[in-house]
């Protein structure tokens, strides 16, 4: 069942500044890019917004660049862009791994990193990577730019600190030292929503982030601390299983998610040792 389309409005800015003015003056408006999430809502009749700012054409937001020893990834970079970028593959291979797991190639060609962040699904495939990499979300409005640490970006289930007049313009990734690791366990091998997704960095200060085990993507500081202070993987695993708060839903059970999260933690630890 499609949503009624009679009252929908599409604004088409030609520049980022024009888009920002539209967000300020003609809001509430919803930014739209590849539409891989948004059009699902339109086609299934659950679309709530009525006015959209189409920023797919704003190529200036598509750049993937080196920033000091880290990365700056434009919000409109698609998963295919991330997957093919030598810079991403070299500096943030876990993002390339995550991009490969998003939908099928068709979705990878249209879905954007910024969209994955803005959509705020706890199952977003790239989000644990950004959390583990301690990315900064670069938000811009007509009033200027601000950088929000990824860990402070989500305030609850599908809610963020973004203001209605702001756009995500980029994700900045500080240099990541240590081995990176990513794994997604989905309802199927491809084109699937995750049941558990994990990204982790093996460093003196291990960083571990998980998706689909709570209302937002989560870091697990107690587990990280335990590993940093030399706890055994079995101890860390028990801490992790207590630290995450998965639920039963139509895709899987809380018990399964907890157990697989523990198993994946052990895999991470073994494979990066």
């Amino acid at each position: 069942m499609r949503s009624a389309v009679a009252g929908l409005e599409l604004l088409e800015p030609r520049s980022v500044n024009e888009a920002l003015r539209m967000m300020r003056d003609r809001g509430p408006a919803t930014p739209l890019a590849g539409a891989t999430d948004l059009y699902v809502h339109l086609n299934s009749g659950t679309l709530k917004p009525r006015r959209f700012v189409n920023r797919w054409a704003l190529d200036e937001l598509r750049r993937i660049a080196s920033k000091r020893d880290g990365l700056s990834i434009g919000a409109l970079a698609t998963f295919t862009d991330c997957l093919r970028s030598p810079l991403v593959r070299r500096r943030l291979p876990m993002l390339a791994a995550a991009a490969r797991e998003v939908g099928g190639v068709q979705i990878q060609n249209r879905g954007t990193l910024g969209g994955n962040v803005a959509n705020a699904s706890p199952a977003g495939d790239a989000l644990p990577v950004l959390a583990a990499a301690e990315a900064l979300v670069v938000l811009r409005s007509t009033e200027g730019e601000r950088r929000v640490p990824f860990s402070a970006f989500y305030t609850g289930y599908r809610s963020t600190v973004m203001r209605a007049d702001e756009l995500i313009v980029a994700l900045e990734i500080p240099p990541v030292a240590g081995k990176q690791w990513f794994r997604k366990v989905g309802t199927r091998l491809a084109q699937a929503i995750s049941k558990v997704v994990i990204a982790a960095v093996r460093d003196a200060r291990p960083r571990i982030a998980l998706g689909s085990v709570g209302p937002t993507v989560v870091r697990v500081p107690r587990t990280e601390e335990a590993l940093a202070s030399g706890a055994s993987i079995e101890q860390a695993r028990r801490i992790l299983e207590a630290e995450i708060k998965p639920i039963d839903d139509i895709r899987s059970t809380a018990a399964y998610r907890r157990r697989v999260a523990g198993n994946l933690l052990a895999c991470f630890w073994k494979e990066t040792s």
Binding site: E12, T36, V105
Partner: protein, 161 residues
Amino acid sequence: MKNGEQRIEFTLNGDKTSVTFPTFKTLLEVLREELNLTGTKHGCELGECGACAVLVDGKPVLSCLMLAVEADGTKVTTVEGLADDARLHPLQEAFADCGAAQCGYCTPGFLCTAKALLDKKPDANRREISEALAGNICRCTGYIQIFEAVEQAAAKMAVKK
């Protein structure tokens, strides 16, 4: 052009095309309803089955999740544009020969997606093929003959070069 309508110009299967349509139509709807190219199919409209896959600037995308507006200025190829005049594309020949098109409903989406793969990676192996086609669903063939067809086409194209 009425209120709530858009007009775009793009290259469709090699031909300069302009078309006017209600703003919120998807590329899939505009192809099928405005341009009478019904080869591209509706399967789920939620981006989950790949039946509507077409090539935009050579890349496979799901036309059910793309506003037609965004095709402005692009090159779009649908299943109707794969053949070179009357000569079938090697993938089309192989799909027909190998029995890869059973009911045939998912075939156009598979063909477009496979073409993008072979354009980029002419020697794709079985694993790469299944990876590339992972966003497409077929309920009849069991996929085996689809994989074989892509492999056969790749072999044929390699010989031609």
